[in-house]
Symmetry: C2
Amino acid sequence: MSTAERKTKEKEELRALILKGAKKLFIERGIEQTTIRNIADEINYSVGTVYVYFKDKNSILHELHTLGFKQLGGEMRVLFSVSEPMERLAAIGRVYIRFAVDNPDMYDLMFNMKAPMEYLHRIEKEEWNEGKATFNVLKTTVEECIRQGYFIGHQPEPLSFAIWGGVHGMCSLYIRGRIRAVNLGDPEIVLIAAHEEFVKLLNKQ
Amino acid sequence: MSTAERKTKEKEELRALILKGAKKLFIERGIEQTTIRNIADEINYSVGTVYVYFKDKNSILHELHTLGFKQLGGEMRVLFSVSEPMERLAAIGRVYIRFAVDNPDMYDLMFNMKAPMEYLHRIEKEEWNEGKATFNVLKTTVEECIRQGYFIGHQPEPLSFAIWGGVHGMCSLYIRGRIRAVNLGDPEIVLIAAHEEFVKLLNKQ
DNA sequence: TTGAAATATTGAACAATGTTCATTTATTTT
DNA sequence: AAAATAAATGAACATTGTTCAATATTTCAA
């Protein structure tokens, strides 16, 4: 291995180390409470080094958001074994909700925070590939349902968006503390019960 | 009017002036870009004065959030003239979405931001009256629908929550730039079209 | 009217944050 | 070993929210 190759590898490793440290802190104490100094401390490097490997905080957050989508994508992939599309549609929602409950800060970063979108804007990229890919999993399933005779009179794309919005909204209200605040009982149970009602609505002919 | 009375009134006026300035800036340049110093400048008082009238930034944001709910409540109240509950249900959604599109930062503050919830936590108040009242408008309508024979087999409270979540989710994805990012066309049009699909789902027997 | 007490307002100062960049340290090449 | 290149550093800056001793203003009894 040439020196140049080794150097490239070392750089990638340090980059990955920074991300690993960032993710650790950010699961431990939340994204808002994680500073660049914390991250630098965590991995025993200086603040300056972090800025050699990432242009700014948004870059780090965007990269973590991408890792989150990889994880969610993996959890969704399993569902392609569910052959009945209506059943799969419900299962996608359950996986999505489970992900939100188990990884609230990551979910928040992926679907609520401005950082990843601001990053895309800065690098002048209009495409949000991570989001589009996830949306397509849903849309493909909805289209299959339509082919089987469900959702008659609906337009697939807006309908898919409405379904995404539906599940996302419940998760967001959960994560942003609105379920707790309206006092309907244990938030996680309310969330899951609401999703069941939502699935009932979807299943009506 | 006694001196004490006048003083009380003056205090209330300055308090209101601070809120007015805060709201102005915050509509003009967004909530994240509005600092306490900006607010103080805007109304020609010092930073310190703002802190005499409000304990911290969360208090200001909470009070603005309450004003937002007053406005939304007013816009909803008109809908009690719609006698058909299923029709009213759709109309509530449209009003809610219109509010979100016309007042994105206010909507964000009311339903997404942590500040108002943190304020409640600080003053050790468990009740989120603003949210509960708005939720009850929805729940009452859903219950009426059920009494008319709609939503058979559904539980009213989780169903109401699912409907809230549904509309909120679409608004949130809109406000947090996720609709634009998935590139389905003009975001506002997508939002409205998705709500129409949502209403179709609700209207199924 | 006056002056002491009460009230209201001020803005400098603090800690925490993201960010920059001249300097230092380490590594590679000659 | 020296020179050239690359990597890492951390002090310094601007901007936040926040505090609080100091200053200015207002009140009201004498």
